[in-house]
Chain length 530, copies 2
């Protein structure tokens, strides 16, 4: 499929009126044949203004209409799978199997929200019936539902060119909620972005939806990104990326005359706690499975395990010995961009220079011209770790810090010293449950997803998933960016009081035509009223 | 009951280490016999640090334990009803019946959250069972619940000395969630605050709860309020008050190294739309019921109707004539403080001076020494209204602007020009439903509660209530400060993956011991698993 390098506004491919750039293959350093054009500020205003006008129509779409749109986008993506995989692997250096899998995940997300919409109870309908005879005052009829916020700006991620990018989870959940979406692409995969945006546009055309409910703009985060977040008609932002970039845009969102929610999934180091019996019995297996998780996507998962915490002793020594034995033969891998690779190497060099850190092992040295990074494992004494809070910060890439504790009490102290993380893992056997019970309340205050005997790198699409956590892992720790509940980010409650049945939205009507579960007079019911 | 003027930290009444002040009776100008002492910054730090330490215990409280605490607070308040009513009326100039009713509401809120906790399903438990045989990868067991955020600062409101103050909705919902509360009192009713705080303390002692889960501090919003919001161990803020004051504290909350949610219920003018047939049939009745709603609490309700919008014509003239006839005989009433009254009179004088506004009527002139305000009704042509956006702003007190539209299209234009409001009312008969159907999608984007044939001044305690709305009516439009769902503001999701049943919280255990409704594999079920 041919790539035009254009941006998409109101269903039209147009040349961005600002500067141009080429895509790059990080594994070869090659530049793309095509030039991509960045939007200027007038085009930002045009895209948002038209999206806001389209919201008047789109906000009234039924759940069924939105479900059809999402399923059609999924079909259009499947129809161009070979082109997406070819371009995606070229732009990101991620292996074909990974891009194929990530496209499957992206399609799965769209269909997951379609299924949620078809089920029809996602707006959490609540009905409290009138009590006209209540004394001293009659109780009115009250009915609660959720309504969409308005145009949403979505910032694509570098590390998931499909699942957290143009048609990724933020876009799928915002469209499912009834919000138009303006995507600010990531410069690391503009051609992939264009292909995906084309699929969305064809679905919009097929479904006859307002064309301005989706726009795709190339441009710098600092200029175009800031302008999008500042625009008065934008009502929410979805973001996946670094703490520095995310915080800068968060600050813009909350400084507006009308502040708006900023759903930023930022950085996380994802501590892994190894409890005594589990370590004793499986030190070698943990070392191997850990390296496998760490190397997924060359350590570029937001849930990549960046800290291993255990108590010193013979089992701990076996763990470190196995890491030291297995890591050096791990091959280097190309990172997503030359800049990300350079940043990773710089952070590893800084850790190399810290006197309190010991290098456990490094992987095979990579080809720097191919932006290749190697695994880098360090260890630190818990006492030194507790004295240097910077060590908690994420090193984006395949590096991990092993924290050696004197005893269980110091392990709990390390846990209690931490800020927010997306995931926290505990390796525990039955004999470790008492220790786990002490660790859990500490993690409860700091972690978005607690998991046992595994790593956080697989983030299921599920109604029970939460992908988020206390700051800085998320700028909106009360929400999730993965799973069905992600849709709630783009809605707010609306209460109807004494409203004629004919004017109520379908989920609140007496007849309950879709037979959905509702809270009626504080009792769950899927029946009609009256 | 004797008033000490002290502040409450860790279950101890201590003298605030900063300046002192007297309470005032706004109706007489009299000063209280007692002196009240303001907390200093060291006391702020002490209260928050101890609350944070107490959170480790309190966050593990069962729903039943928290319910007992809330019910005991309610009982302790009921036990000192005469003292609260006496002091409350003296400090606020609100009539005894109102303070009695508001105390009933406050007790009702505490018991409402206790009932919610006893029901046990408020954490929205979701369970997706493992699929060990799924290809290519096994699906893990995932279980989702909500956990409390940590210490919450609650700012008392001037206009609801009980229901939105020390033991008000924010405190009740935060404690219900499992969060310690530090109350920053409002200077307009410090004695009432002390009585209420004493009731809370006695309940904490009776229940054997950690004493530091509740503190009460007097002090200035600018100094003590800012220090509380800035404190790193504070994790959320509840606020009811003015846009200016709320926005200043919001800015502090979001500028912290770790930003925290700021649940601010700010200003609202609560437009009332009168549709043609309803106006035609009931112009006189609407005028009378409207004045009744406007005069509730001397117009000092956040849901007070500050705008009446209708289409010009004979029925509109009858409405205005009735207002002009009935308003002048309405008696003046003392406002909550001399400062609030002065501000109201200043804003009314500014409106008097605007050439585009016509005065419809004023109520009986009041005694300015008694901080008495009179009703002030103005009218404006919709064309002039649309040209002057400042007219949308709240005038805190019994003033209303009647907006005269040329036709239905202009009424829709006025509706579409507005920002966020807590409530929006529509007066409509069956023949008005087509017009209402055009108005509703516009209000959907701007209003927290839409109501028919009534006013927003009654805010029911109900699971279907939403009290909030787009900015500036709320700084957190995705939440409500009234009704059971207010508890969700002080929690965040936590996902458990592959967690041993023995370590799961009760709402996620296989046995479902409390028989609560859960979403299991995307189906609603109140049964046990397996």
């Amino acid at each position: 499929m041919s790539i035009t390098g254009k941006i998409l506004i109101n269903g039209q491919w147009v040349k961005g009126a600002d500067s141009e750039f080429n895509a790059a293959n990080p594994a070869t350093g090659a530049s793309s044949a095509e030039k991509f054009s960045n939007a200027d500020l007038a085009q930002v205003d045009e895209a948002v203004t038209l999206a806001s006008a389209a919201f008047d129509t789109f906000s009234q779409y039924s759940d069924k209409q939105k479900a059809t749109l999402l399923r059609t986008i999924a079909e259009e993506l499947e129809a161009i799978r070979p082109a997406i995989v070819e371009r995606g692997t070229w732009e990101t250096a991620l292996p074909e199997m990974r891009i194929n899998g990530e496209l499957g995940r992206t399609i799965g997300q769209l269909n997951m929200f379609a299924t949620l919409l078809e089920k029809g109870d996602w707006k959490r309908p609540v009905i409290d019936l009138a009590q006209p005879d209540r004394q001293p005052l009659a109780k009115p009829d009250l009915r609660l539902t959720q309504v969409p916020l308005g145009p949403v700006v979505v910032f694509s991620a570098s590390n998931f060119p499909l699942a957290f990018s143009v048609a990724g989870g933020d876009t799928a959940s915002a469209l499912a909620a009834g919000c138009p979406v303006i995507v600010k692409t990531h410069g690391a995969h503009p051609g992939t972005s264009e292909l995906v945006a084309g699929a969305i546009l064809r679905a919009i055309e097929t479904c006859g939806a307002p064309k301005a409910i989706f726009a795709m703009l190339h441009g710098s985060g600092r200029i175009i990104g800031t302008a999008l977040v500042k625009h008065p008609k934008v009502k929410a932002v979805g973001f996946t990326g670094s703490i520095a970039g995310g915080r800068a845009l968060y600050d813009v969102a909350v400084s507006r005359p009308e502040p708006i929610p900023f759903f930023g999934e930022l950085g996380s180091t994802n501590p892994v706690y190894l409890l005594a019996k589990s370590l004793e019995d499986t030190a070698e297996q943990i070392a191997e499975s850990f390296l496998g998780s760490l190397m997924m996507g060359v350590g570029q998962f937001c849930t990549s395990p960046g800290m291993l915490i255990a108590v010193k002793g013979p089992a701990f020594d076996r763990l470190v010995a196995t890491l030291a034995e297995k890591a050096p033969v791990l091959g280097a891998g190309s990172m997503l961009t030359a800049g990300i690779c350079a940043s990773y190497n710089k952070l590893c060099a800084e850790r190399d220079a810290l006197p309190s850190l010991k290098a456990i092992a490094k992987g095979t040295a990579g080809d720097s011209a191919a932006s290749q990074a190697q695994v880098a494992l360090f260890s630190v004494d818990a006492t030194d770790y507790l004295a240097n809070q910077d060590l908690e910060e994420e090193v984006f890439g395949p590096s991990t810090l092993v924290i050696a504790c004197n005893d269980e009490a110091q392990m709990l102290e390390v846990a209690a010293s931490m800020k927010g993380h997306l995931t926290g893992a505990i390796f525990a056997e039955e004999a470790d449950q008492a220790a786990a019970a002490k660790l859990l309340p500490i993690l409860q205050q700091r972690i978005g997803r607690v998991l046992f005997n595994g790593y956080g790198t697989g983030v299921e699409l599920s109604s029970a998933m939460s992908h988020g956590g206390p700051y800085p892992s998320s700028s909106a720790s009360q929400t999730t960016s993965v799973g069905t509940r992600a849709i709630e980010r783009f809605t707010r409650p609306l209460c109807y009081q004494n409203t004629p049945d004919a004017l109520l939205p379908v989920e609140l009507k007496n007849a309950n035509p879709n037979g959905i579960m509702r809270l009626v007079n504080d009792q769950w019911s899927d029946k009609a009223i009256g």
